[in-house]
Point group: C2
Chain length 192, copies 2
DNA sequence: TAAAAATAGCGTCAAATGTCCGCATTTTAC
DNA sequence: GTAAAATGCGGACATTTGACGCTATTTTTA
């Protein structure tokens, strides 16, 4: 499990062997089965999660029980609820596994320590935050301005790998349209 | 114009007088007339903007010319395109003034220098980024799950001050609904 | 101050979307 | 291996939303 993380760090962060060892020394390996929860609404988020293998989903529910997918996190991505993690406040989100997965976990305290010790990690974290900010803006713009079909095409084009691995009703949930609408779009595209 | 900024800094950042002077020494004061642009699509964003007085709008257009409001920035808020500013890439956004406004400008270079010199400013910037990230998530969730009326109510409740100062068609644009839909919602609410 | 532009409401019609239902197939779990 | 659950399609119908055109009022600008 650790091998994937080492490859990721070496490719993207170019840390020294010592720094890598330091990161791993405070990481917890964990295997998550499909459908298992890593974070639940109301709970304080305890970890920063790196996905070595598998696929996680972050979602939120409404009072009526409907689920709305905020994010999919496949291997070599991260997941957490930064708001809950940073402020130690109850989370609004759920994180669960869509596939049996292997993840690494860091507590906030340990990760803060790592950032303080390893400037390159701190810099990389900031870069990831800014990428997330941009992705968020792009998604908002898309939600404001695009048709359901445009959003669907955009999703398939941007995340072909993820798309192939998740049920359509979750794609619909991520896009903010009903499964019915998604079905119609796909049906119409087939006929072309 | 500088008085508003000083008050803001003292309330939120508690900088020393020297640090405040340093910030002001590299800031440029500027008056922006209503409808004037501070950033245009295709241009590289040059500044971080603090609004002392007035109201700015950040928006993006589609090929068909439609405008979609990403953000309103009233006094004591900030505006910029961080993606363009940080990477020195052409921006996708426009920033213009909805009211005659007074702003302070910093170049990326100067602001980076300030962050390096003033740890409290660096920390505050990071805090603002994380707040923005959360606001973005909240808006995405709202776009995915809320009805037009719920989004409208949420906006009025969250930003009563801004709401009273902008035309309805811009509220509609911010919410991602047509002006017609917004009219209908308001009409229905009046009848209750 | 007068002309022009912006703002916002309304009616009508058409298109898009959602809900509810059942059904068939595939996948999962015990 | 079998029962149960998940997945996804499709029909019928109602609702929501948008597009277009028109108008009245307010605001801006010259």
């Amino acid at each position: 499990m650790v091998a994937e993380f080492e490859r990721y760090i070496k490719e993207n962060l170019k840390l020294s062997g010592g720094d890598l060892k330091l990161m791993l020394s405070v990481a917890v390996e964990r295997i998550v089965r499909r459908k298992q929860l890593l974070l639940e609404e109301g709970e304080v988020c305890r970890h920063k999660i790196f996905i070595c293998k598998g696929l996680l989903r972050t979602y939120r529910t409404r009072e009526d029980g409907s689920e709305h997918v905020m994010m999919f996190s496949p291997e070599t991505w991260w997941a957490t609820d930064p708001e809950s993690l940073n402020n130690q406040t109850p989370s609004l989100y759920y994180i669960d596994a869509l596939e049996d997965s292997e993840v690494l976990l860091w507590t906030k305290k340990d990760f803060d320590m790592l950032c303080a010790q390893i400037p390159a990690l701190k810099a990389y974290s900031e870069k990831l935050i800014s990428i997330n900010l941009n992705l968020g803006r792009q998604r908002i713009f898309s939600a404001l301005s695009a048709t359901a079909e445009e959003k669907y095409d955009e999703f398939v084009a941007s995340y072909p790998n993820i798309f192939a691995r998740i049920p359509l009703h979750m794609v619909a949930s991520y896009l903010g349209v009903s499964l019915k609408t998604l079905s119609r779009i796909r049906q119409a595209q087939l006929k072309r």
